[in-house]
């Protein structure tokens, strides 16, 4: 706006322009950007899966990931280890924040994201299911463009499989407290390197003898509940 005003003023000063008879004085207008603030509560609905710190990304139209495609390294890291620094550095993000810590089964966390008001504004949410190889729960894209201050949206999320690590459930490969194994490993050894829904964990009590997981780590959909309230 300011730049436009300056350009107009410069134009009207141009002596070669025969149309302009006298200079038009344009008062510079300082426009304060309108900030939208969203307060998000995130509840873990599983029986025995800790959920890694929730990642929240605001974007205009290109979601951080798409079903049926190959996971980015950022998403691979999030889904295999819960670490979200790389994921949050997503290049099309207008804003990106992480909840402070992981939440256990039955727990709820709150995270706030602020972003300059946009005509089109979407939010994306992601967190790892800790006692798995590469499961994450996610709302890829939620349109909050028309959400009024004070208004809220409530969604439940399902479990996805990043497709970046085979679901062996072994003690060496599951990073959560059930096994304390390795987190991120750049080797991609799953059946297909694409994001699908997660088939669930098997556990050592249900036929996978090499599994470090017990029946208490089984989960079903939905995995989490997310409530988004526009607070500013």
């Amino acid at each position: 706006m300011l730049a436009l005003a300056t350009t107009l003023a410069a134009c009207s000063d141009n002596d070669n322009d025969p149309v302009v008879e006298e200079p038009v004085v344009v008062e510079p207008i300082v426009v304060e950007p309108v900030i939208s603030e969203f307060t998000i509560t995130f509840s873990n609905l599983t029986a025995g899966q800790p959920l890694s710190p929730l990642s929240v990304i605001a974007f205009e139209d290109e979601a951080p990931w798409t079903f049926g495609t190959t996971a980015s390294v950022g998403l691979e890291m999030l889904a295999e280890s819960g670490a979200n620094e790389e994921y949050l550095s997503y290049e099309s993000a207008l804003a990106a924040v992480s909840a402070e810590g992981a939440i256990g089964p039955g727990e709820t966390t709150t995270v706030i994201i602020t972003v300059e008001e946009q005509e089109t504004l979407n939010l994306s949410f992601a967190a790892m299911l800790g006692n798995t190889n590469d499961a994450f729960t996610d709302l890829s894209s939620l349109d909050v463009s028309t959400l009024e201050v004070g208004g809220s949206l409530s969604r439940t999320t399902t479990a996805y499989d990043a497709g970046t690590e085979a679901n062996t459930e072994t003690a060496e490969t599951v990073p959560g407290p059930a096994a304390s194994g390795e987190g991120f490993n750049e080797i991609r050894d799953d059946t297909a390197d694409i994001i699908t829904m997660h088939p669930g964990i098997v556990s050592n009590q249900d036929g996978l003898s090499t599994s470090a997981l017990g029946v208490e780590h089984k989960f079903d959909n939905p995995v989490s509940k997310i409530v988004i309230t526009r607070t500013q």
């Binding site: 079903f67 049926g68 399902t158 479990a159 499989d161 497709g163 085979a166 679901n167 062996t168 459930e169 059946t191 297909a192 694409i194 994001i195 699908t196 829904m197 997660h198 088939p199 669930g200 098997v202 249900d206 036929g207 996978l208 003898s209 090499t210 079903d220 959909n221």
Partner: protein, 233 residues
């Protein structure tokens, strides 16, 4: 005489309004990690002629689809019922995470959508949508689909060539090429012979032996297993 003609005209107008034809764009996505879908059948039908009904006994046509993926009988049934249909839009199997699209023009009175496709490798599992009312308002609608069990075959989880015919026990194929052999057969106590939500496959961790020929880390699933996106134009 005049009055009754007018009444008929009003009735006809009201009737045509409530049974409006529709132009639909359809997209079906396989959400699973390790299950293929056999040829899809999507029909627009009246309130009676759905492809299946939960908690009832299956028709032979549906059993033929659920146990072997053959939709010929269902197509014949839907044709006889005057349904509009998109048959086999993927022209074969729909792989995990893959999508297929179709367009469907519905005729007056066909206000409901139904969908079926067999899930492989399963004995008689299928994805289903039963009589979803097509909205009259233009827009895009997303419907999550669950896995059903036709209730016609014990889920022994053994891959047996040629077992796609109705009544022949076994899983006719594992298109992912990731199933095993030499299983002794899962003994399932599932006695529900009506269409029900599929309890899921068990699988095991031995591709050469064990109860099941399925892999427990590859061939299980959680609902929803498919997503149908309907755009009403």
């Amino acid at each position: 005489m005049k009055a009754s003609t007018l009444t008929i005209a009003i009735l006809l107008a009201a009737a045509s309004q409530s049974t409006m034809a529709a132009e639909l764009d359809l997209k079906v996505t396989n959400l699973t990690k390790g299950i293929h879908f056999t040829p899809l059948l999507i029909t627009a039908h009246n309130s009676e002629d759905t492809l299946f009904e939960v908690a009832t006994q299956v028709s032979t046509a549906l059993q033929t689809m659920a146990e072997g993926g053959n939709i010929a009988e269902l197509v014949a049934q839907a044709t006889a019922a005057g349904s509009d249909m998109a048959a086999n839009p993927a022209e074969g199997l729909l792989a995990p995470a893959a999508s297929t699209t179709a367009t469907l023009s519905t005729t007056d009175g066909n206000e409901y959508l139904s969908l079926t496709a067999m899930m492989l490798p399963t004995n008689d599992g299928f994805i289903g949508l039963n009589s979803w009312k097509i909205p009259t308002e233009a827009g895009t609608y997303i419907i999550n689909l669950n896995a059903y069990d036709a209730g016609t075959e014990q889920n022994n989880e053994l891959v047996v060539e040629g077992s796609g015919a109705p009544g022949t026990p076994g899983i006719p194929a594992a298109p992912g090429g990731d199933a095993g052999t030499g299983g002794t057969g899962v003994l399932s106590g599932d006695t529900n012979t009506n269409i029900h939500i599929h309890p899921g496959s068990l699988g095991d961790d031995d591709l050469e032996a064990g109860n099941s020929d399925l892999s427990n880390t590859v061939h299980r699933w959680l609902n929803p297993v498919a997503q149908l996106t309907v755009t009403v134009k």
